[in-house]
Amino acid sequence: MPEPLLQAVDLRRSFGTVHAVDGVSFTLPEGGSLGIVGGSGSGKTTTARIVVGLEHADAGEVRVRGRARPSRARGREQRLARAREVQMVFQDPYLSLDPRTGVDQVLRETLRLHFPDRDPEPRIRELLDQVGLGTRAADALPRQLSGGQRQRVAIARALAVEPAVLVLDEAVAALDVSVQAQILNLLADIREQTPIGYLFITHDLGVVRCVTDEVIVMRHGSVVEAGATAEVLAAPQHPYTRLLLDSVPHPGWNPDRIAAARQELTSPLAQPTQHTGGRSEPT
């Protein structure tokens, strides 16, 4: 049996007394797409940063194709090898690009670093083409681009490294609906063309449904539910997952009932493992 593409084993990380990530494990198969869903403070972003290496774990391990990722890179070779394992697309396209570096320069820097023997120019054109940016955008500075275009640049920059895993931390949350759909489609296309695996961090269940095969639901640093995306969304087992699903505005939406459900869940009496089926009485 082949090793999974990405495996997180019992990750833990505390900030002071807060257990931001508390025993999180998951597996991302080759070419798969895994969503991490949760509210703010659920530890999903910290998990992502541990996987990428921007944050270290107090305990636990991240493995890429069976090989443990060192917590700190020593020397140039290891640094570059680490970068080729996991790349990341950040939430805010307005802050994730250096305001002084032009689009083609961003890509050239990365290509020169990772593939010093190759001529970067054809690859730059290829990457821009892949993310749907014309050559006209190549000379532009970030401030001359719209939010969606910047996010395309950020995706191209991550793809330039040819990573095994792409971590997308709320990568479409800051975008307008119409642009968000373009980027989600782009991500679907890239997955079809390359064997890349996605780790998709989001609070938006609609987005999860759109781009992931499997999903884990996090709350207070731990995984409360995991499974195939379609199944989890169709038949949530954990009350928190149900609360998240109910929180999405829809016709006949009753915010009062959701507020009450949330109160119930956050009260100390709540039993996280208990399956309460017919909890839909109006307040």
């Binding site: 921007l54 570059l80 970068a83 996991v86 994730s96 690009l97 002084r100 990365t110 670093l113």
Partner: protein, 286 residues
Amino acid sequence: MSTVLTRRPGLAKLRVRSGRSPLHLVCLGLVASVVLAALLAPWIAPHDPNAVDLGAALAGPSAEHPFGVDAAGRDTLSRLLLGARTSLLGPLGVVAFSTLAGVAIGTAAAWRGGWLDSLLSRATELVFAFPGMLLAVLVISVYGEGLLAPVVALGLAYLPYVSRLTRSLVLAERARPYVSAYRVQGHSALQICLRHILPNIAPVVLAQSTINFGYALMDLAGLSFLGLGVPPLTPDWGRMVFDGQTAVQHGYPLSAILPCLFVVLTVVAFNVVGERWADRVARRDR
């Protein structure tokens, strides 16, 4: 950006806010002409600044000596022009030293954090606690006269202002996702600092350095006036005020007042230009 440049209160009143202010243009012109005068001094000075003509001592303005002659019979205009060289060269050294060292220390402290940050921050605070002029007087008394000793001493005294500013700027810049992005991409810390962080914070640091230039000029002129620093015969504005003070008592104030005026005008001009630059940078960042 939340960082505020260091400004001395007295000069803050001269801050220029409006878009195209005449004061700013006048000051920019003043800075340009002082720098030009310093560069071209040997060619445009009408007399040898050290040529003594005792017969004409303390003479008023005339066609031959437009700004008059000092007590030792030297042409004031020529001394002012050549004095611009030492008067500008000193602050330039101070600013260059404090900026380069301050940026290096501030960046290292902010990027590495931890013990290095504590060590460097404590060290700069130690220098902070020591009055710059006093430090300069001390260094001169140990190493004797010459331009180098006061420049190094003042450079040290100005360093904490720059390093503290740089440290906070780098800390803010480092928290931005684009820096994380470069780290994830496998770029080394040095590359990220040199290629991305420093160019982004440079305008703010350079604006501070321009302001520091004015202060350094004032401090060095003060040292020269006290008879410290530049050797006696060198033409220097501060030294000229010192040389001219006895003449003031005899009713011939011109040779002391003119260099005073030049110091004041140049300091104000550099400050206005620097403040305005800082304001422009602050506006652009918003």
